[in-house]
């Protein structure tokens, strides 16, 4: 049972809690396969998407997940700049809560914001990505997808490739996959992989060919264009030459490898189009599974009597 008010990160979850979320998500995936893709489970509840950072994908996914559960959704998008000038974060959140929100789904460019809100709010806080800390529902949907495709997670060799240091997706995935006993390796230029990562039980490769050998899963991360020229790597061209996922490189992985990407993709920067659209890609299934996982999270958080 998930005895928590909030979903702040994978760090805060036990293996049993992760398993429960994934099992519950399987039930919701059944719903998504039907003609009537909506259940009355959380009728009368209200969810607010409080997004301080633009994100169409995650916001839409949470929005639809809430609607599928018969929860009312409000999108409250706040450009960070105006918040800096005006209303404080806490005031904004309290206002949203006063509107009757049962769930506050928060995306913020500053790490730890969900933790701050969770302490100040009665509502369930769901972290939809905070700074470079965590993006727990992405990691849960990734784990769900891997489990669905590979029937297990334990013992798999999983490569996470790209901008690890700035990626909350990578962080959450590292926590969840190591908790679920996969063997995780990180691949990317040394400027994008914190040296401390080697100390937490994951492998680190700076050479793409070495890193991809015999892996079961390749998780690509989005390369943030604004990183080039800031000393992390010289150019996207050089990046793709060294760490881009090409068919030749992918052939070094296991035959039944699956390729994942949290989106949005930079085709030709971190991933070749042939792969993104190819048979090994499960990128669009990730999107569908995201709905099921987010429904499961809301269902489980709502089910705790407080």
């Amino acid at each position: 049972m998930l005895n928590k008010k909030d979903l702040l990160g994978i760090k805060e979850l036990s293996v049993e809690e992760i398993d429960l979320i994934l099992d519950t998500a399987a039930g919701f995936k059944d719903v998504l396969r039907r003609d009537i893709k909506k259940v009355p489970t959380l009728r009368g509840k209200t969810a607010v998407n409080l997004f301080f950072e633009p994100s169409t994908r995650t916001r839409t996914s949470f929005e639809l997940a809430a609607k599928r559960l018969s929860t009312d959704v409000i999108n409250f998008s706040v450009p960070t700049s105006s918040v800096v000038k005006g209303e404080s974060l806490i005031d904004t959140a309290l206002t949203v809560q006063a509107l009757g929100a049962d769930f506050i789904i928060i995306r913020h460019s500053s790490s730890g914001v969900p933790h701050l809100l969770a302490k100040k709010l009665r509502a369930s806080v769901i972290n939809a990505g905070d700074g470079t800390n965590e993006h727990p529902t992405q990691a849960l949907l990734d784990a769900f997808t891997i489990r669905e495709k590979k029937r297990k997670i334990e013992g798999l060799d999983i490569a996470i490739v790209g901008d690890i240091i700035h990626s909350r997706v990578a962080k959450s995935n590292i926590y969840s996959l190591t908790k679920l006993r996969a063997r995780v390796r990180l691949i990317g230029p040394p400027t994008l992989i914190p040296k401390e990562m080697e100390g937490i039980g994951v492998g680190v490769f700076h050479n793409m060919e070495d890193g991809l050998k015999n892996v079961d899963v390749v998780m690509m991360l989005r390369i943030q264009m604004e990183r080039q020229g800031r000393g992390f790597f010289p150019s996207t061209e050089e990046y793709f030459k060294n760490w881009g996922l090409t068919p030749e490189r992918l052939s070094l992985a296991k035959d039944d490898v699956i390729v994942m990407h949290p989106g949005p993709m930079n085709r030709g920067v971190e991933i070749a189009s042939e792969i993104a659209d190819g048979p090994k890609s499960v990128i669009l299934e990730q999107v569908t599974n995201g709905l099921a996982v987010r429904m499961a999270v809301m269902y489980l958080l709502a089910g705790v009597k407080r």
Binding site: G112, N133, E134, I200
Partner: protein
Amino acid sequence: MRILIEKGHIIDPSQGIDGIGDVLIEDGKIKEVRAKSKEQGAESKKQKPHKSNSELRTIDAKRMFVIPGLIDMHVHLREPGFEYKETIKTGTAAAIRGGFTTVCCMPNTYPINDNASVTEFIIRKAAQEGLCTVLPIGAITKGQKGEELAEIGTMRNEGCVAFSDDGQPVMNSLIMRRVLEYSKAFDVPIISHCEDLTLSEGGVMNEGLLSVTLGLRGIPAEAEEIMVFRDIMLAGLTGGRLHIGHVSTEGSVKLIRDAKRRGVNVTAETCPHYFSLTEDALRDYDTNAKVNPPLRTKRDIEAIKEGLKDGTIDVIATDHAPHHRDEKLREFDLAPLGISGLETALPLSLRLVDEGVLTMNQLVEKMSFNPARILGISSKGSLKQGSDAGVTILDTKKEVRVEAEKFVSKGKNTPFDGWVLKGMVVITISKGRICEWQ
């Protein structure tokens, strides 16, 4: 008015006193101290206080320590410009609550204390409203921009006792060299906030596994150490008086120890939080533990304690940095840096005595005698006859629970809220006034 403090355990490193005795204060000056001194091994001349017509107030200091008023050479009083965070009045009130009778305020006010008129304002305001002595620290460069020298001589004449661009370190090595050279003419210490801003850019906590785990930008220890090294080299080059502010890393301690061995004119301070807390205090994104330089690791704490013990670090200062609660109650990245430290510094430092890191005598050195020596204010930090009667009386056995909301300071930003600490200031005598607490 005369004050007689009786039967306290007097510790005065300036005279080598460490024993039971009496202190007589007359008209705001130390008139007489009678106690067993370590060197003399016997009680000094015993005689009744002179008969005098003025009123005599007697304080029973049995089982208490009587020490020269503490001197904090690194505080932010926020006035002028940021009175919502702290004022000279509230800051000095917090100081005497913490046992300090002298504080040196950093120049990062608004306007910045980079010219004599601001210095004059602070001194005048402190004379009117201050509950303890306030000695301003002037900016090294105009606007703390690190470009043009401020009028150090003029500010010195107006009352500044040291100079620093605290918080906005001078990145240009040539300017820093000139400062260390020029200030020699006035024999004032230059307090350096050592941080390579190009390396620490955007950082909000110590760099390491925890910063990665929390997703917070890290500041490597090297950002401090590179500048400690640079400034030591420049002090060696120029012979200027360098004082390294708030030392937080093992590497800095080593660099300073080595520099002192080589005879470089350098002194150093650390703050209670750097020997009391590790970066772990940030695990729950507690903005009250967000401070610059950042809280480091266990290893750094051990090195700082070692540095305090062997004299590498001369001074314990607070870097008292009060902020409004709304400012701390926000995104970790955006919350301002600093800890409101005046009211917890002494009990936190007393833990070092409990742990055997320092003797009581060394503690008083680091919190009173040494700051006075470094700042060149011979009338303070001592109970010698004729010194200013700043006296602190404390009960080191008494346990007190830290309650941020009850701080006298406007800044309630402390990571020590709820801690139970031993050692309470019972009486602070400052500017001829007796402030007493239960």
